[in-house]
């Protein structure tokens, strides 16, 4: 069927395909970041450099506020650590998804692109994660992220407010597209997702708890709910393979 392309090329193409919606969603968010970075006093080059070297959303927004306030370097390190700590969990999960013999430089390449969305499409892909797939997703997504930042920083508020508002849900739409299909296949995932939604809502609005920053909140909720789910519904040998995210449908 796919005889004229090598497996790596196929995987890379699949990666680019999955990366396109991510890049489109990123364009909107990074555009907003670019606008805000310039407002905080950074140059267009600096704003773009942050996006290229960081590839985080919450972390970057928090970062420019530290820069604007001329915060301590240690504070910057602490803020980045807490907000981005969830990537450590994702990276640990990915370590179980790749070939154990994969060389370090390829692992570092995959690590560079651990974001919520890239992680989502990588971990739900059936079978072992091919580095070529990761390369495809990461290159495409990061292009969108960097381009959006540049455009936002360079051209300011060129997009109508309504359009920016509409693009604001793009990322969440993607999250939903990643979570819902496996929730239909595995009831335990559905329960875990529902618990996460409840816990995150409580932590956002409850007295005292609401003062916890959004990055810390995500970590607390993730660890808390995943531990509960792991105790209540341990995965057995037959449920170990993640439910197929129905990627196959798109190729038919």
């Amino acid at each position: 069927m796919r005889s004229n392309l090598s497996e790596a090329e196929e995987n890379f193409k699949d990666g680019v395909k999955d990366g396109i919606p991510i890049a489109l969603g990123y364009l909107a968010v990074s555009f907003a970041f670019g606008i805000q970075a310039v407002k905080a006093g950074l140059s267009v080059f600096q704003a773009t450099l942050i996006s290229l070297s960081n590839v985080t959303s919450a972390g970057q927004f928090a970062g420019i506020s530290v820069i604007a306030a001329a915060g301590a370097y240690l504070e910057m390190a602490g803020v980045q650590f807490v907000i981005n700590l969830r990537y450590m969990l994702m990276s640990a999960a990915l370590s179980q998804k790749i070939d154990p013999k994969l060389p370090t430089y390829k692992r570092l390449g995959i690590a560079f692109g651990v974001t919520d969305e890239i992680f989502g499409v990588s971990i739900t892909r059936p079978g072992v994660l091919a580095p070529a797939f990761s390369a495809g997703v990461i290159i495409t997504s990061v292009l969108g992220w960097v381009l959006g930042t540049f455009l936002g920083a360079f051209s300011g508020e060129i997009l109508p407010v309504r359009l920016i508002s509409a693009l604001g849900v793009a990322l969440y739409g993607m999250f939903i597209a990643i979570v819902v299909p496996p929730s239909k296949d595995d009831r335990n995932i559905a329960v875990a997702a529902l618990l996460a939604v409840i816990a995150s809502t409580v932590f956002t609005y409850a007295p005292v708890l609401k003062y916890i920053s959004s990055g810390t909140r995500i970590i607390i909720v993730t660890v808390l709910v995943s531990v509960i789910a792991a105790i209540l519904f341990p995965t057995t040998e037959n449920t170990e393979e993640r439910p197929d995210n129905e990627k196959g449908l798109e190729h038919d």
Partner: protein, 101 residues
């Protein structure tokens, strides 16, 4: 903003990269513990769910358009539409609702 902006950027990039790189480079074997395996199995779905709700409801111009986008995404995802379809469907719904309201 002077030169030290670049020091800030360097710190940001370094801390973030280390967080991402350490587990992927240090964990080289299959994790055997059933508990840790189960934990890691649920992490992605739990994280993404926690990030979506309630944040999505304040991501647009008003809560009605956000709710419309949220429901649209849920329905499209339930019928296993692709990432791009679900994401753009939600955006279109937000856009339409905000045109009306």
């Amino acid at each position: 903003m002077t030169d030290n902006t670049y020091i800030y950027i360097l710190i940001m990039a370094l801390v973030t990269f280390l967080i991402r790189a350490l587990p992927l480079t240090l964990i080289r074997q299959e994790i055997k513990s059933p508990f840790v395996k189960s934990f890691l199995y649920y992490v992605p779905y739990v994280t993404l769910s926690a990030m979506t709700v309630p944040a999505i409801f304040t991501a647009t111009g008003n809560i009605y358009s956000a709710a419309g986008g949220f429901v649209t995404a849920l329905v499209l995802a339930f019928f296993r539409r692709s990432l791009l379809t679900v994401a753009s469907g939600a955006c279109v719904m937000v856009f339409i609702i905000e045109l009306i309201l």
